[in-house]
């Protein structure tokens, strides 16, 4: 038995080391930039980091990211001016663009389509919801006052769970000393990325729930869904009241086909502008999302850029 335990231990250790080497050799483990909360209480990436983002379990999508001085993934620094025409794209991972070469992001495509007469600043961060986004605009209001047009990407069913901004500690827990140590192992990062650690996490959560006597969440019924829409709408109103909303410069970017009529009616009645990207993407003749990922692929990003450029031309952006 002793021999078995020792041999198993040695083999397990050596195999883990070898796997770590293989994962690094084939660059399978994603680089994880570190995050932080700045003095304005905005959660974002720690400025000036570089690395590779990897998607797909066989390294299908492999791109470099570049976190600028402002803490967002972009090829340029965000320095709005009084004289220039600047546009802000605010949103989640779709705007953040870790799945795309940052030099062919939506913003860059827009700049090129308009002959580089405008600058587009992409304030994107994976997991941002409407509270994060509106608080960011409010917190950086000095910069945003210089920006001529603001597009906020939102998904009604995901982004309006909160009516007020607060720092989300669960996300920041990823920066705990333990997680930081764990992130040093590319093998663990890779296992986590491909979902191999999900059963372990689920088991831990289930056990915790069981110990605490909790129940698993029940499915949402239709009545509850309706009332949930109402809650989301109230959250939106609350966010507007708290952080302000310049209707002349701000436009929501959303898929109308997945947004409840209740919200669309509210926007129409109260003069909130929005752009529907759903119609263009859903009717596209080619696939608009990545193969291993639900994010927009190059073609999807081109279509979004076209939509936004069209809107900018309508409001008189330099052409």
């Amino acid at each position: 038995m002793k021999k078995l335990v020792i041999k198993l231990g040695v083999y397990a250790f050596l195999i883990l080391i070898s796997l770590e080497v293989l994962v690094r050799m084939f660059y399978l483990g994603e680089d994880k930039p570190s995050r932080f909360v700045d003095e304005s209480q905005v959660e974002k990436w720690r400025p000036n980091q570089e690395g590779y983002s990897v998607t797909g379990n066989r390294n299908q999508n492999f791109v470099r990211y570049n976190i600028n001085d402002s803490g967002f993934n972009s090829y340029q620094e965000f320095e709005p001016t009084k004289d220039g025409y600047e546009v802000a794209l605010v949103g989640d991972s779709f705007i953040e663009g870790f799945h795309q070469p940052y030099k062919s992001s939506i913003g860059r495509k827009m700049e090129l389509k308009l002959g580089e007469k405008i600058k587009v600043f992409e304030y994107g961060y994976a997991g941002y919801d409407m509270a994060d986004q509106m608080h960011l605009i409010y917190a950086y209001r000095e910069d945003f006052e210089l920006i001529d047009r603001i597009y906020i990407k939102m998904k009604f069913s995901n982004d309006l769970n909160r009516g007020e901004y607060y720092v989300q500690n669960e996300r920041l827990n990823l920066e705990s000393p333990l997680n930081k140590i764990l992130k040093k192992s590319k093998l663990l990062v890779y296992l986590s990325e491909i979902g191999a650690l999900t059963p372990v996490r689920n088991m831990i959560n289930d056990t915790r729930m069981l110990v605490q006597g909790g129940n698993t969440p029940k499915p949402v019924t239709r009545d509850k869904a309706v009332s949930k829409d109402q809650v989301f709408l109230e959250n939106f109103k609350n966010l507007v009241a708290l952080y302000g909303y310049d209707k002349n410069r701000t436009v929501l970017l959303m898929d109308v086909s997945t947004t409840p009529k209740l919200f669309i009616d509210y926007l129409d009645t109260n003069g909130f502008e929005y752009i529907d990207f759903g119609q263009k993407l859903n009717n596209a003749d080619r696939n608009t999302t990545l193969v291993y990922d639900r994010h927009w692929n190059n073609y999807g990003r081109t279509l979004i850029a076209e939509l936004l450029v069209h809107d900018l031309k309508l409001v008189g952006a330099p052409d």
């Binding site: 038995m1 021999k3 078995l4 041999k7 198993l8 083999y11 050596l14 195999i15 070898s18 796997l19 293989l22 994962v23 399978l28 379990n57 066989r58 299908q60 890779y190 296992l191 491909i194 979902g195 191999a196 999900t198 059963p199 372990v200 088991m203 193969v291 291993y292």
Partner: protein
């Protein structure tokens, strides 16, 4: 509980440690642990079906004793044997075939011009492994009837034999003459046996997670959308399915055999590299061996086997293949699959070539197969793969549509999976897999045949690395043969 689940990777070491180091000195305690563990293992699917296993266990335990008690009175013995057969077949018949018979009956009447509105079909869930453990318990009673073994009077040991968790849900279907005495006799901790078991588990997991689960999304897509694909893609799909079902089932069997070894038990081999068969008869000596052996012993030989007139032997072959097909599932597709194999087997039998490859392997005395052997391998693989169209299709209509498209509209177009899986990855994987299996083709119970420790270590690492590369968390990872 699935062999490839986190639960099993917690369950197995706990069972192993308790088995050898907490209860290691008492055989009865060890058996009790295995029995409780097996019921727990099975109960995680659906605890209600445990009652079926327990009922089958009690019935055959008593039947075995009664057959033995009535030695000398053949009619009474036969009566008791029928009790076992009827009970087990009834379980199977109700849970697995009831709706099939009702639906087929209705279809038949509709063909004759009568319309019947069915109110008889029931929402029946198929208990996992029912086809396996009912056959195992039935064979016990039959073996006592045919005086091959004596009955087991120790109920605990017998219940452990029936419910032994490594092979409970998908075999190998063990005969009491091989397994029961290992349960009733003291097992000793054997380092080499345990290491060999761990190697088999690793290899089985590779076959399941990399070969079977890796290929599955492509096969699923091709069979689901077969009406939109050209013939070349359909051929690709069914060829990949051949590898998928092999990886899935032989992987399961390897894990089962490996797990049993951890508990000091040797299960029979279930697969001996069937992809290297030179004719269909050899294929059936290498594929799902425990089921083929079962049918040979308990159906084919009692019917007279091949020691009867040629026409009767052919009839017997047809019967066992049709029954074997039906055993796989309550669907006409499986019966056609069985029938197809009977048609492929009969010419081999009539030419007297059905046992000629029984004791040797392809390329027996050389590194590579001869050209003739290569032709035989390709032909056999082609026949078996073609039959899998029936095996995989949802209905006979789908099967014939699939075949129809191959023959009526033969065209080629490169295949692109909707999720963008790179086909080159799979071609390289399968080429390496086939070559590797060819290298180890002489010993199915020793998948890592390397003398050098370093090379062996490298092989373990690469196998695990491949599992990580092909792991797909979004894929349903249960085993194909659980549905049978």
């Amino acid at each position: 509980m699935l062999f490839n689940s986190l639960e099993y990777f917690i369950f197995l070491p706990i069972m192993f440690l308790m088995y050898w180091f907490v209860l290691g000195k008492g055989l009865r305690l060890q058996n009790a642990l295995v029995l409780v563990g097996s019921y727990f293992f099975y109960g995680l699917w659906d605890w209600r079906f445990l009652f079926l296993i327990i009922a089958s266990t009690i019935v055959d335990y008593l039947v075995g004793i009664m057959i033995y008690k009535n030695e000398g009175d053949r009619s009474k013995q036969r009566l008791w044997l029928w009790v076992s057969v009827i009970f087990n077949i009834s379980l199977l018949g109700f849970f697995k075939y009831y709706n099939f018979f009702v639906d087929s009956f209705i279809d038949l009447f509709e063909l004759l011009g009568y319309s019947i509105k069915s109110t008889w079909t029931l929402k029946i869930i198929l208990p996992v492994g029912i086809s396996f453990y009912t056959f195992q318990t039935m064979s016990y009673s039959m073996d006592i009837y045919y005086k091959r073994i004596r009955p087991c009077h120790d109920f605990l040991s017998f219940a452990t034999f029936v419910a032994f968790f490594p092979q409970l849900v998908a075999g190998p279907i063990e005969r009491a003459s091989n397994l029961l005495h290992q349960i009733t006799n003291k097992r000793t901790f054997n380092y080499d046996q345990i290491v060999s078991g761990l190697k088999l588990i690793l290899w089985g997991l590779f076959k399941k997670l990399v070969i079977a689960d890796g290929i599955a999304p492509i096969v699923d897509d091709v069979f689901l959308n077969h009406e939109t694909y050209p013939a070349s893609t359909l051929i690709l799909g069914v060829t990949l399915f051949s590898f998928q079902v092999y990886g899935d089932f032989s992987g399961y069997s390897d894990i089962a055999i490996g797990t049993a070894k951890l508990f000091g038990v040797e299960l029979m081999s279930n697969f001996k590299f069937p992809n290297f068969s030179r004719n269909v008869a050899e294929y059936w000596q290498r594929w799902h061996i425990s089921l083929s052996t079962w049918f040979r012993h308990y159906v084919y030989i009692p019917l007279g086997g091949s020691r009867v007139s040629r026409s009767k032997a052919v009839r017997n072959i047809c019967i066992i293949f049709l029954v074997s097909g039906f055993w796989h599932g309550a669907n006409w597709t499986f019966i056609f699959w069985g029938g197809f194999h009977a048609l492929a087997y009969i010419p081999v039998f009539l030419m007297g070539r059905n046992t000629m490859y029984k004791n040797n392997v392809v390329g027996e005395n050389s590194l590579f197969p001869s050209l003739v052997e290569l032709g035989q391998l390709v032909l056999t693989f082609g026949i078996v793969t073609f039959s899998r169209i029936f095996f995989r299709s949802e209905s006979l209509t789908d099967s014939f549509n699939f075949i129809g498209r191959i023959f009526s509209d033969f065209s080629y177009a490169p295949y692109e999976h909707p999720n963008g899986y790179r086909m080159l990855d799979y071609f390289i994987l399968l080429a390496v897999f086939v070559l590797y299996e060819y290298r180890i083709r002489r010993d199915e119970r020793n998948p890592f045949q390397f003398k050098s420790k370093a090379v062996r270590f490298l092989a373990y690492t690469l196998v695990i690395f491949a599992m990580l590369l092909f792991y797909d968390s979004g894929f349903d990872r249960s085993f194909i043969y659980f549905q049978f």
